[in-house]
């Protein structure tokens, strides 16, 4: 999937994830810049997109005349090229880092100036490893809760919880974030069912004993 970069109500791109990653590292794109997917279904930010990317997304090369140039004020495709053929790095006349991507060559000066009140985004500002090589996002697998339910509640729900907990780990290792989140929810669900049945049973049990003691 490719994304339009939206800054100061201007839209640039679209770019694929690999390009955005490169622009972020070179400082042309800020982590807080907003993104909108090509089909306008997903809105996110550069930081969110790249942080949760585990496997680099390879997208097919852009068709020269992108079918959707849906944002009205964009350069018409009659220019003979899609915007992505003009990467924002090292554009003639604006070599400074911090240049907003992909505008200057259109000869529309209102899009182009590098200084738009946005600070320079150098890598040291993030204070962490480059996106994509850091630790994977961790999704709780509720393993401790599952084992506790198995051992202490004496119920098979705990085993189901451990099954889903190990699925979380397997899917995380494969980069299947939505699948891992689903397994995480299942693990929690089964463990909590075990806790609820056990807790409910104990409450009823102690209540019955209390009533028996009162009736005596």
């Amino acid at each position: 999937m490719r994304y339009f970069l939206i800054r100061d109500q201007q839209s640039y791109g679209p770019y694929d994830v690999t390009e955005l990653d490169a622009y972020l590292k070179s400082g042309n794109v800020a982590p807080g810049d907003r993104l909108e997917s090509e089909d306008h279904t997903v809105r996110t930010t550069v930081a969110d997109l790249l942080t949760f990317r585990v496997v680099p997304t390879q997208t097919p090369p852009a068709s020269p005349a992108a079918p959707s140039e849906p944002i009205g004020f964009q350069q018409p495709s009659s220019a003979g090229s899609s915007a992505s053929e003009y990467p924002p790095i090292g554009l003639g006349g604006s070599p400074t880092s911090g240049t907003p991507p992909g505008t200057a060559q259109y000869g529309s000066p209102q899009y182009g100036p590098p200084q738009q009140g946005t600070p320079q985004y150098g890598a040291p500002q993030y204070g962490r490893a480059p996106y994509g090589v850091g630790p994977q996002p961790q999704i709780s697998n509720h393993l401790v809760l599952s084992i506790a339910v198995t051992a202490l509640c004496c119920l098979p729900f705990g085993i189901a919880g451990i099954v889903y907990a190990s699925q979380v780990n397997t899917k995380l290792a494969l980069g299947d974030i939505p699948g891992a989140m689903h397994s995480s929810k299942q693990a929690r669900l089964f463990s909590l069912i075990g806790v609820a049945i056990s807790g409910g049973f104990w409450i009823l049990y102690l209540g019955a004993i209390g009533l028996g003691a009162l009736a005596r």
Partner: protein
């Protein structure tokens, strides 16, 4: 409070403690059967009796402490699958009424 109750009353001598629901329903020993009695024995320092009730408490309790202390271990793929296999295997073996395995059942 649960610890005080568990220390004061012996689960095997008091009707107060409920029987394991899995055992009540199926008549089979689940991996957790005997844990209450084993914890009671542990609270009294009676390791031999704890082992005869549910030997797994010697693994489960340190394991839970370890997992709580080391979050990274929870996300180790092989580790969680190994736990799963051990739990299921233990649950099966302790229902085998033949000598070495019968030691695993609460007795």
């Amino acid at each position: 409070m649960a610890g005080v109750v568990l220390y004061t009353f012996d689960p095997s001598q008091n009707r107060f403690f409920p029987v394991c629901p899995s055992f009540a329903l199926t008549g089979l020993y689940c991996p957790g059967c005997g844990t209450t009695r084993a914890l009671h024995a542990l609270l009294h320092g009676d390791f031999a009796r704890a082992a005869s009730m549910n030997v797994a408490v010697f693994v489960t309790l340190p394991l839970l402490a370890l997992l709580m202390a080391v979050p990274r271990l929870r996300y180790h793929r092989g580790f969680s699958i190994a736990i799963l296999i051990c739990v299921v295997l233990y649950g099966v073996l302790r229902n085998v009424p033949i000598y070495p395995f019968s030691l695993l059942a609460p007795h």
